[in-house]
Point group: C2
Chain length 357, copies 2
């Protein structure tokens, strides 16, 4: 029994099975089948890339928000402003994945016609990792850019001690020919809040530079995280990046920013009015896509093969480790640790759907 | 005499006089009058904003490059690829200011028609501070974005010890109503190379975190800067940002990036094939511009008025100090320190034009 329990704890699940489970749960929670399928595929795709904090692990929270009335399961997602290369989508408080899936495809269509497409979204929700959407244009030989307002404010402006800014993520994805795409998916803080929670769970201290307390002194005890603030990268630069990302994704779309951002975990019943923006740039405006992608291959190989600092085993390109995760998990399945499985089993019982299996 | 020398050292010069001097020098160096006027106005505008390292101080270097054949004074700057919302400009190795002035106005025109315009440039040159161009769309109620490949490689990829990347700048400018615009103009390194040179001139040490040596150890002696590398903000994040900015501004436009980037100071006679990109986003695609600008005013005031860390006198918004410089220098003139005046006097003698006066 003990051995079987360990085997169970180490189980890997094929993405298709995980996706099917997520879809069952979302359908039981009230989403139309087609919508549930789109969200489920995107959530499983996050886990395939190794975004363990932004994929299926969020399902219980999403379901809690749906149940509390914080997410609309039958949204009328619509384009409220439309010009040849830019548009604004109102998500009607639907699942963020649906809103941004729609926005990304609209941006791609506009880029095909005019060279670049930029689509903003308001009244959306948490949509998983930024890379899910920034990488969609890659399939059309386009560069993808994505910006979002984080679903909570963890960051004061530089010099401040009031959390008016979030770990607003940005992602830029660039296609290569034989090499994996370059995908820079980052928040403008030194550490993600999820990493702080992980340190707390493990009973470890945080390094100096991750957080400060209310006096501006280094905070290294992750159990005291509520008493402090995440630090931006590059001091005022990261703070400025968070603000700019927030403006492009939030203010420009009449979405929440600054004092209007609520805590989407604590305020499960309230609409977050999350804002995002996505852009697609058609490479063939500038040069033949094949030539560009070969040049990116060359750049990647120059960087990977360049001289390393002592003790560095390998130089990684942005997105390369996520790509390695994808190859591994696509072949071997997505690791589902015991705690995650337990929470998904609870979801299955709760919604009376077949478990992950 | 001593007092008069001090007064001279502290002289302030009206922007118009500085601009007229720059134009005289550039005309004497071979630029057509109209082109010289555009470059001169932009260079003086850099000094007005307080970009003391990127304005008139660069004139002797530009002139040296022109004389050495590294810059074309009669370029055929032309659009080589054109779609409704995106275009590529070939600068024919002309002054970067001319190329990006043209690119910015093309991006603005496209945004007026389609909602967003994105223009890349190749075969350009150093164009001064990023904010010069990112702020041009502000006058049309647009958000401006600018990216450039730095005119030298000072940065290895994260983990590496070969300088394949530059302090590639990015700038995003957002208009406000009564408040100064938000202008985030930053390179993805902790310190600019100019700051390192300044520490060396003053005989001061650098703080830990600015640079590392070839072993990856902190480098704090600015006189040894040649033996080390600038550090990116946020470790791999800043390195990734430099790469992405380089791709958007360089690789996408067939401009130099990575190993193809030359040192524009040492290789004065060679064309740099500098790449830039500029985008303009028409705010009225998303909401009435006046409403957006009022919202940005509110956001600025929320941030400025928010609680501060102990010892912090004021929270500054990105671009606010540059705006304060502009107000001061526009009224009182641009400070011209003795060393700068001497170098401009040498330029005047050299080109046989009337000095700054």
């Amino acid at each position: 029994m003990a051995e079987s329990a360990i085997a169970q704890a180490q189980t890997r699940v094929p993405a298709a099975r995980l996706s099917a489970f997520i879809a069952r749960a979302l359908i039981a929670a009230g989403l139309p089948t087609e919508d549930a399928d789109i969200v489920a595929r995107l959530m499983a795709a996050a886990d395939l890339r190794g975004s363990d904090t932004h994929g299926v692990i969020r399902l219980p929270l999403y379901l809690r928000r749906i149940r509390a009335g914080g997410i609309n399961v039958n949204p009328n997602i619509r384009v409220v402003s439309d010009r040849p290369s830019a548009a604004l989508i109102d998500g009607d408080n639907g699942m963020g994945h649906l809103v941004m899936h729609r926005a990304a495809h609209l941006a791609i269509a506009k880029a095909q016609t005019t060279g670049i497409g930029w689509v903003g979204a308001r009244m959306s929700n948490h949509a998983g990792p930024a890379a899910l959407y920034a990488t969609l244009p890659l399939h059309h030989d386009m560069i993808g850019l994505y910006f979002a307002v984080g679903s909570n404010n963890h960051l004061p402006p530089w010099g401040g001690s009031e959390t008016l800014l979030g770990t607003n993520p940005m992602c830029v994805a660039v296609p290569a020919q034989q090499e994996p795409p370059i995908v820079l998916d980052m928040a403008p803080t030194v550490a993600a809040y999820g990493k702080v929670r992980l340190k707390a769970q493990r009973g470890e201290q945080m390094p100096v530079g991750w957080m400060i307390d209310r006096e501006g002194k280094p905070l290294t005890d992750p159990k005291r995280a509520d008493e402090g603030y995440l630090l931006p990268i590059g001091d005022y630069k990261g703070s400025g990046l968070s603000l700019i990302i927030g403006i492009l994704a939030g203010a420009l779309n009449r979405a929440a920013l600054g004092r209007a951002v609520i805590d989407f975990v604590k305020d499960a019943g309230k609409s977050t009015n999350t804002g995002h923006a996505i852009a697609a740039i058609a490479i063939d405006t500038f040069m033949p896509a094949a030539e560009f992608k070969r040049a990116i291959d060359g750049l990647i190989r120059d960087i990977r093969g360049s001289r390393r600092l002592p003790g560095v085993e390998r130089i990684w390109l942005p997105g390369e480790q996520s790509h390695a995760n994808f190859l591994d998990r696509n072949a071997q399945g997505i690791p589902v640790p015991k705690a995650l499985r337990d929470s998904l089993d609870a979801v299955a019982r709760d919604l009376n759907v077949a478990p992950l299996g």
